[in-house]
C-alpha cells in the first residue's frame, strides 16, 4: 500500500511499515523547549526521576517568548533554564538569538526526514523542510528528554494541490491564510497536511516556513510542503509520497487567483480578501514572529516603505526572527529603510505575539500583524482587535494608517 510523507517518516523511525490509524512509539531526532514550556518540563522531568537527558546533543532550549526578561519572575525562569542546560550539557539559545523555530531551521538542527518534537504548537513549521515537526506540551517534552521517544498516532493526510502561478506580491502567508479560511480552524484536526502541485516549486524557504508554521491553525498535527524546488545549504534526500498514497481528502487551489488575504478578529480562520476590509483604521502594525520575521519579509516591507513615513496615527514594530536575520537586514540596509520610515525594532524573539511584553496593544486598538494567531487577548489585551496578514499587507497598512492592499506599491 502506498504511503504519504508522514507515513514514510514514521515508518523509517518505527522500523516497520505503518499506516494511518496505528499507534507507534518512535525514537526522535531532536527536542526543543522555549521559556514558556521549558520550566514546567524541567519540573516534570525531575518528578519523573530524570537525572540525565537521553542525548544532550539532541536537546535544545530557547529563550525567546519573553526575551530579554521583562520582570524578575520571568528572569528567574530563564535562570532555571540556563542552570538546567549547563547541568545537562545541552545547547541553550540565549535571549536575542532568535525565535525557536527559526533557529532550529536556520542553524541546520532540524533536517529533512527528521521527527522533531517541539514544546510549542508551531513546531509543524519543520514541514517546510520535509521534516515531521509536532508540537507537544511540557510533560510530553520531559518524557522525550527522559526516553528519547514519543508515542504517536499515525495521522491521515489532507492533500492540498497548488496549481497555477503565484502572482507577484503574493506571499506564502496569503496562501496559507486562504487554505485556513477554506478548512476552518478545526478542518485538519488530528491530521497531517501535504502541500504539493506545480506552484510549490516556486516557493522560497521563507514562504514554505510561513505555510508549514500555520498548519496548526487548521488543527493539523504536522504537515509538509513537498520538497520540490527546496534549496538548503547542505545536500539532502527528500521524502516524497508514493504515487498511490491514500489521502483523506484533496483540496485544489488556483494560486494565480489568490489575492492578499486577511484574518479578522478573533480567529485565524475568519479569512477574507484584503479588499473586503480595506480602509479599516489601524493603530498598530507588527512585522515579525516565527511566521514572518525573516529577511524576505523585512525586505518586502522595505519595498513598500522606502522613502516614505508610516501614517502619523500608526506605530510600526518590527521583530527580526533571529540575530542572523537582523544582521543580514542591517547589511543590506533594509533596517535603515524601515527605521527611516518610522519603525521601532525589538530584539529577535516572539515579542508582542504572545502578549507578554514589547508592544501590548491598548483598549479598542486595532492591530494588523504578521503573526499566526489573533485569538481574543492573544497580544495581552482582550479589548484589542487583531488582524493577521502578510508582511506586504501589514507594511502597506502602516503606510496608509488603515488596512490596505499592498499590490499597488509593488
Amino acid at each position: 500500500m502506498g504511503q504519504t510523507i508522514v507515513e514514510k517518516i514514521i515508518s523509517a523511525h518505527a522500523a516497520k511499515n505503518v499506516h494511518q490509524g496505528e499507534i507507534v512509539i518512535v525514537a526522535v531526532d531532536g527536542a526543543m523547549a522555549s521559556d514558556t514550556t521549558a520550566p514546567l518540563a524541567i519540573t516534570s522531568f525531575r518528578a519523573m526521576g530524570g537525572k540525565a537527558v537521553w542525548d544532550p546533543d539532541k536537546c535544545f532550549l530557547v529563550i525567546d517568548h519573553a526575551a530579554p526578561a521583562p520582570n524578575e519572575r520571568i528572569s528567574n525562569l530563564h535562570v532555571l533554564m540556563r542552570e538546567f542546560a549547563a547541568e545537562q550539557h545541552c545547547k541553550l539559545f540565549e535571549a536575542g538569538e532568535g525565535i525557536c523555530h527559526q533557529l532550529m531551521i536556520e542553524k541546520n538542527i532540524v533536517r529533512p526526514g527528521h521527527i522533531f518534537i517541539g514544546a510549542d504548537s508551531h513546531s509543524c513549521a519543520y514541514g517546510a523542510i520535509d521534516a515531521l515537526g509536532a508540537g507537544v506540551g511540557s510533560t510530553d517534552l520531559a518524557a522525550v528528554w527522559l526516553t528519547g521517544k514519543i508515542w504517536l498516532k499515525v495521522p491521515r493526510t489532507i492533500k492540498i494541490e497548488l496549481i497555477g502561478k503565484i502572482p507577484m506580491g503574493i506571499q506564502g502567508k496569503d496562501l496559507i491564510l486562504d487554505v485556513i479560511g477554506k478548512t476552518g480552524i478545526a478542518g485538519a484536526t488530528y491530521q497531517a497536511m501535504e502541500f504539493c502541485g506545480p506552484a510549490v516549486s516556486a516557493l522560497s524557504l521563507s514562504g514554505r516556513i510561513s505555510m508549514a508554521n500555520m498548519m496548526i491553525e487548521a488543527g493539523a498535527k504536522t504537515g509538509f510542503v513537498h520538497p520540490t524546488g527546496l534549496k538548503l545549504p547542505y545536500t539532502f534526500t527528500a521524502e516524497l509520497p508514493d504515487v498511490e498514497a491514500k489521502y483523506h481528502r484533496t483540496i485544489t487551489i488556483d494560486a494565480a487567483a489568490i489575492q492578499p488575504m486577511v484574518s479578522q478578529p478573533h480567529s485565524p480562520d475568519k479569512v477574507v480578501a484584503v479588499d473586503q476590509v480595506a480602509g479599516k483604521k489601524i493603530h498598530y502594525a507588527f512585522i515579525g514572529t516565527c511566521v514572518n520575521g525573516r529577511l524576505e519579509d523585512l525586505q518586502m516591507a522595505a519595498r513598500i516603505l522606502r522613502d516614505v513615513k508610516i501614517h502619523p496615527h500608526t506605530r510600526l514594530i518590527v521583530g527580526p526572527a533571529s540575530r542572523q536575520v537582523f544582521l543580514d537586514a542591517v547589511k543590506d540596509r533594509t533596517v535603515e529603510i524601515l527605521l527611516k520610515a518610522g519603525a521601532t525594532f525589538i530584539p529577535p524573539g516572539c515579542g508582542p505575539c504572545v502578549g507578554t511584553h514589547s508592544g501590548v496593544p491598548g483598549n479598542d486598538e486595532v492591530v494588523i500583524s504578521t503573526a499566526n494567531r489573533n485569538f481574543k487577548g492573544r497580544m495581552g489585551n482582550p479589548h484589542a482587535k487583531i488582524y493577521l496578514a502578510s508582511p506586504a499587507t501589514v507594511a502597506a497598512s502602516a503606510r496608509e494608517g488603515k488596512i490596505a492592499n499592498p499590490l499597488k506599491y509593488l
Binding site: T36, M48, G49, A119, G137, I185, A186, G355
Partner: protein
C-alpha cells in the same frame, strides 16, 4: 501530578461553546510562572471572568467542538485542574490539549453528541467511558481512548507513569 484517578466522578456542569482556545483558558501573559495557583486565578478570564469564583471542586467543564485549540501550553489543562475541574467533556478536542490533559492527569472525554446544560449534575464513569446527566437521566458514551492514554490516565498522569515504568509500553493490539 497527583494520584490514581477515581473511576467515577460527580460534579456540576459548566457549559461553553465551540473552539474554546488556550488563550481563552489561560492568557499567555499568565503562563510564565511555576506557581500553579496563578493559572487557576486567571482561568477562563477573558471568556467568563466569574468562572474562577463560581467553580466548585469536582465540577465538570463541557465544551463543544475543538476544545483547547491553539497553543501547546500545558498551563491550560493545569489551570482547569488547579481551579478544581475534575474532568472535561467536549464533542472533540484539539490534539495537543487532549494529550496535555491526559499527561497531567485531567480526565478528558470525547462525547460526540450530548444534552447538558450549565448546572446539570453529571456522573462520569471513566472505566466505562460513560457520562450520565443525573439531572435529566440521559446517558452518553465517550469515544474510547488509545490504550496508552488510558494507562497514563490510570496512573494519574505521565509523570507517575514514567516513574513507575521508566519507559513507554505498548499493548499488542496497538500494533
Amino acid at each position: 501530578m497527583g494520584r490514581k484517578q477515581n473511576i467515577k466522578i460527580t460534579g456540576k456542569a459548566h457549559v461553553y461553546g465551540d473552539h474554546i482556545d488556550t488563550d481563552a483558558i489561560i492568557p499567555g501573559k499568565y503562563t510564565k510562572t511555576l506557581d500553579l495557583q496563578t493559572f487557576a486565578d486567571h482561568v477562563l478570564e477573558d471568556l467568563d471572568p466569574e468562572f474562577k469564583d463560581r467553580v466548585q471542586p469536582g465540577d465538570i467543564l463541557v465544551g463543544g467542538e475543538n476544545f483547547g485549540c491553539g497553543s501547546s501550553r500545558e498551563q491550560a489543562p493545569l489551570a482547569l485542574k488547579v481551579a478544581g475541574v475534575s474532568a472535561v467533556i467536549a464533542k472533540y478536542f484539539a490534539r495537543i490539549f487532549f494529550r496535555n490533559a491526559v499527561n497531567i492527569g485531567l480526565p478528558v472525554l470525547e462525547v460526540s453528541d450530548f444534552e447538558i446544560a450549565t448546572g446539570d449534575e453529571l456522573e462520569v464513569d471513566l472505566k466505562a467511558g460513560a457520562v450520565e446527566n443525573l439531572t435529566t437521566g440521559r446517558r452518553f458514551s465517550a469515544t474510547k481512548m488509545p490504550q496508552v492514554m488510558i494507562e497514563i490516565l490510570d496512573e494519574g498522569g505521565l509523570v507517575n507513569y514514567l516513574k513507575k515504568y521508566g519507559d513507554y509500553r505498548l499493548q499488542k493490539d496497538e500494533g
